[in-house]
């Protein structure tokens, strides 16, 4: 059986209390919301914090407010998001992303904030201590070499969060709170393309809430490539959002690729290609080609990297066709094993 290492557990009752504990020794303290990422990582000794601050007992983190848009506490579970008819109706991209995360059991535990803070993943890193010892460890943890590309100066672990691309496409912002500061950043600015320093969140900060702007005519979608209809992290994902004028012309568009780098990648050129024209097959094909250039998967997830890159065209096409209004349920059932509609 895999066992957790010993650690001190602090069940915080408020954000302030959690932030205060975190401030004591940020480098060897970790936050625990649903625990679906942190606890397995601790069992594998990828992370061995001396203190774990439990966030589940903080009521504010489970709150949800409507108003000018939607504000979700970071502790809102993924199951809650999947079951919320309002989110499903107004932010389908977020709903589709949440509904395709892991399994029902893991969604019951996992939170939206936890998914945004998800550790980057890599086949050389997400392994037991003994396995990592057999490859003499890797750059991300205890080693000197990135085995994905041995000449790489940086860690190439993959951003594997499903909700981040969806929230970036929706231009959501997050609030980061520490013992002595509060700041808000766009979700897109939360990340950087480094497998180790993948987040700008400081070790003493807590991601407390996610604010979505009003849906305001935005259509959104999320497509995920994974081996099976359940359980798996993305190995490619496409989040898209468009606004159309009454004649069907695109006035605004966003395309974000997930799981092709250490952070979600916006395909800005692909999105701007669409603006000012209807979502015709030609426009979609052009955008797909431009997004294809952005996708730079590495050989550190399931499936071969060449194939993952190749099918990014198809997945961008699926996403844009769904935004156009095509009935994509057949494609959904084939790729996701569920209609997602």
């Amino acid at each position: 059986m895999m066992r957790l290492p010993e650690f001190r557990y602090c069940a915080a009752r408020s954000i302030e209390e959690a932030a205060a504990v975190l401030a004591e020794s940020p480098a060897d303290t970790m936050l625990l919301a649903g625990g679906t990422d942190v606890l397995p990582n601790m069992k594998r000794r990828q992370q061995v914090p001396r203190t774990v601050v439990g966030l589940r007992g903080i009521p504010a983190l489970g709150a949800q407010h409507n108003g000018n848009g939607l504000v979700l506490g970071a502790g809102v579970t993924l199951t809650h998001i999947v079951r919320d008819p309002n989110i499903r109706a107004h932010y389908p991209g977020l709903w589709q992303a949440a509904a395709q995360i892991a399994t029902p059991h893991l969604r019951n535990m996992g939170t939206i904030g936890g998914n945004l803070c998800l550790d980057t993943r890599c086949t050389y890193y997400d392994q037991n201590y003994e396995w990592r010892k057999a490859i003499d460890f890797c750059l991300k943890k205890d080693g000197a070499v990135c085995w994905v590309a041995t000449s790489s100066p940086r860690c190439l672990a993959v951003s594997s969060t499903d909700t981040a691309p969806a929230l970036i496409a929706l231009r959501a912002r997050v609030r980061l709170v520490s013992a002595n500061s509060v700041r808000e950043v766009d979700v897109t600015d939360l990340y950087q393309n480094d497998g180790i320093q993948y987040s700008v969140r400081r070790a003493d900060e807590i991601l407390t809430e996610i604010a979505l702007p009003p849906s305001d005519g935005w259509r959104s979608t999320y497509w995920k490539l994974r081996r099976r209809g359940s359980f798996d992290f993305p190995v490619l994902s496409v989040a898209g959002a468009v606004r159309l004028d009454p004649s069907g012309g695109v006035t605004d568009a966003r395309i974000v690729l997930g799981a092709v780098a250490s952070r979600p990648m916006e395909a800005r050129e692909a999105a701007s290609t669409l603006v000012g024209r209807p979502l015709s097959d030609e426009a979609i094909a052009e955008a797909a080609e431009q997004a294809f250039a952005v996708a730079k998967p590495m050989d550190n997830t399931d499936f071969t990297l060449h194939w993952r890159k190749r099918v990014s065209r198809a997945f961008v096409t699926y996403a844009l066709r769904e935004l156009r209004g095509d009935d994509m349920r057949d494609e959904r059932v084939k790729t996701a094993r569920q209609a997602m509609g």
Binding site: E6, T123, D126, R227, F231, D232, F303, T304, V311, A314
Partner: protein, 824 residues
Amino acid sequence: MPEGRVIGIPRRRVDGRAKVTGQTRFADDLAFPRMAYCRLLRSPHPHARIVRIDTTRAAEHPGVLLVLTGDDFPIPYGILPVSQDEHALCRDKVRFVGDPVAAVVARDELAAIEAVDLIEVEYERLRTIADPIESLEHPEPRIHEYGDEGNIHKKVSLAFGDVEQALGEADQVFEDTFFYQGNTHLPIEQHAAVGLKDPDGKLVLYSSTQTPHYVHRALAKALEMPAAHIRVVATPNGGGFGGKSDPFNHEVVVAKAALLLDRPVKISLTREEVFYCHRGRHPVLMKFRTGVKKDGTITGVHLQTLLDGGAYGSYGVASTFYTGALQTVTYHIPAYHFQGCRAFTNKPPCGPKRGHGTPQSRFGQEVQLDKIADALSLDPADLRLRIVEHPDTLTANYLRVGTIGLAECINRVTVAANWKARFRKLPRGRGLGLACSSYLSGAGLPIYWNDMPHSGVQLKLDRSGGVTAFCGATEIGQGSDDVLVGCIAEILGIDPFDIRAVTGDTDLTPVDLGSYSSRVTLMMGNAAIQAAERARDILAQAVSRKLDVPAARLVFADRRVFDAEDPARGVSFQDAVCLAETAFGTLGTTGSYTPPKSAAKFKGGGVGPSPTYSYTAAIVEVDVDETTGWVTVPRVWIAHDIGRALNPTLVRGQVEGSVYMGLGEALMEEQAFRRLPARLSSALVHKFPSLLEYKSPTSLDMPEVFTELVENPDPAGPFGAKEVGQGPLLPIMPALANAVYDAVGVRIDEVPITPDKIVKALDAAREGKPARYGPASFPTVPWPEPLQVPPPWAGGDGHATNEPPRKSRRAARTADQPETVVRT
């Protein structure tokens, strides 16, 4: 077929309630007072000499009770008498990443985990052999000091008739090379074991094992104890599929530790460690040369297989023979030449997984038949119907086939799938594929040579009216306890829930060889019938005296024993037992089963014989996206020749479970390894030893499955039953490959069939290259002179004509080295 009151009726299995309510006690659920916990230190190197082990710091770690190393385990063991190549902890060298080197026993598991990391081992690295091609190219350094030569573990060559002449007489000869990737069993229960010392000093081992009898023998040997002082209890297995059929190092370690410490010692393997236990599907490269006439009839087959054995022998010699054993059982093959070679490599050992050695070559044979049908413009179903082997036949390789329901299976699935109207007629991107198979209903010979029964059943009946059935068979989720009591209940006219099953306990139960080779239903079932009939006869005698009715007229049904001519005249079952106990004293009966003698008399002929064979046909429907290569399976139709379904609920469960496992092998499962750049590292590691990243289908990925059971009772089986645990897996992988061809016109001659391979084959087709993805060639193997065994129709008697005279079995047998069934 006579309607049974229990047999043939879909029933809730007797162990079902405990399982669905979480009350079944698996090995990991066991806890005993003063129990300590064991962890193993495993090698981080794929191939290295052990120079020095320093356990000082580990031994001093708080809570540590005992540290063991290879010095504590001088005696080797192994499942086959010819492959006694394992030590519980490595002594001289390590042979794969995960090979156990030392063990720590501590008061709690965390202390053991911490202490394991304090053991210092100095290694001298050796050249690593990563695949069989390297094994052939590099005889040195040898992974083992035994085997046929260099890093070749076993080579075989069996010629049944003159194949070259037969191919010469063919209208066309088809030559195809295939690769079948290795995969693992993935039982949901990780292996666990508890060793303890009985108060009287005897050893007890509880373990999630499919083969308590063989573990019993291995412990007696490895620990140098009389077998009579060892008790092995097989806890219900949370799935086995062949992965719990070997004696394992962790079992030997906790047994030894319990004896030394005189307290219970438990080990619960992690999922990663289960991947290192492995014994799963061998990766097999194979080449088929098949000669056919214009009408599709086969003139001869020449099959070559190259198996990647991993680091130890395990069942590998048998696996090697199995890759060539059953080709002849499905279709009539007048001349057959089989050459097989198993190589040692520095990876976890391969062994028996559901279908043991046969799915790989079944894949090749069934895909090649699809190609043959295509080339000859024949319908693949019609082709197979034309060449199905005849019932009651002795095949070219001397396998005695009884009933064959294969033609009926083919007819059933083709009707159910509307094959004639849909095959080759679906829109591009959608396709149907057909494949067939057969499998043993139990291996005809035991693992170690002996003439004793393969299965024994004892019944205890007493005045309470209670019946207890004792049998060494092991419940691994397949429902063997239910089959045991079902057979007895049918004969004694009581309900299965009236009977208590005590199984898989070497102290309490008579020997059954174990839950492997699809042998339990047939062998235990026949033994149970014999024991139950003997009990019924005793009760009938007593009731006959009491009622003054001839015993032959008595009927056992509805928990009563009564006169067939006057059903009101009778006694309750309990009264019948009391009458018998009064008349004859304490009641008990036994039954046993020994398979019929094999017709094969040549060396190697021990692998393949079975009392009877099951048959299966399956049609898989696929949807293939030509842009991405993505495969979706909406439907599977499968018909299985079960002989007789004892409990149709269990049978359908096995069929559907086989479809599930088969689709996993066909589409995604890979026991794959990663070698790091040689200039930086000598690592050779399992790519993803985890339940998350080793991809196996989820319930969402399952298609609709339409199951047809073909029932034509076989005289060899209990109530006519054949096996169902393994056979239905076999046609799924080739049927899927054939369906992909029907859908998009490309051949994927390799398993798993992944979307990137389909895309590559489609690209090749567009570039005018062969529309195929698969291995290009078969390497040169230094094959031995073939054993020449003339087929029955060529005047053969089952002996090889060029075999050097062998010592008689009994003369060759010694206590330590009993002769193996494969007689190498």
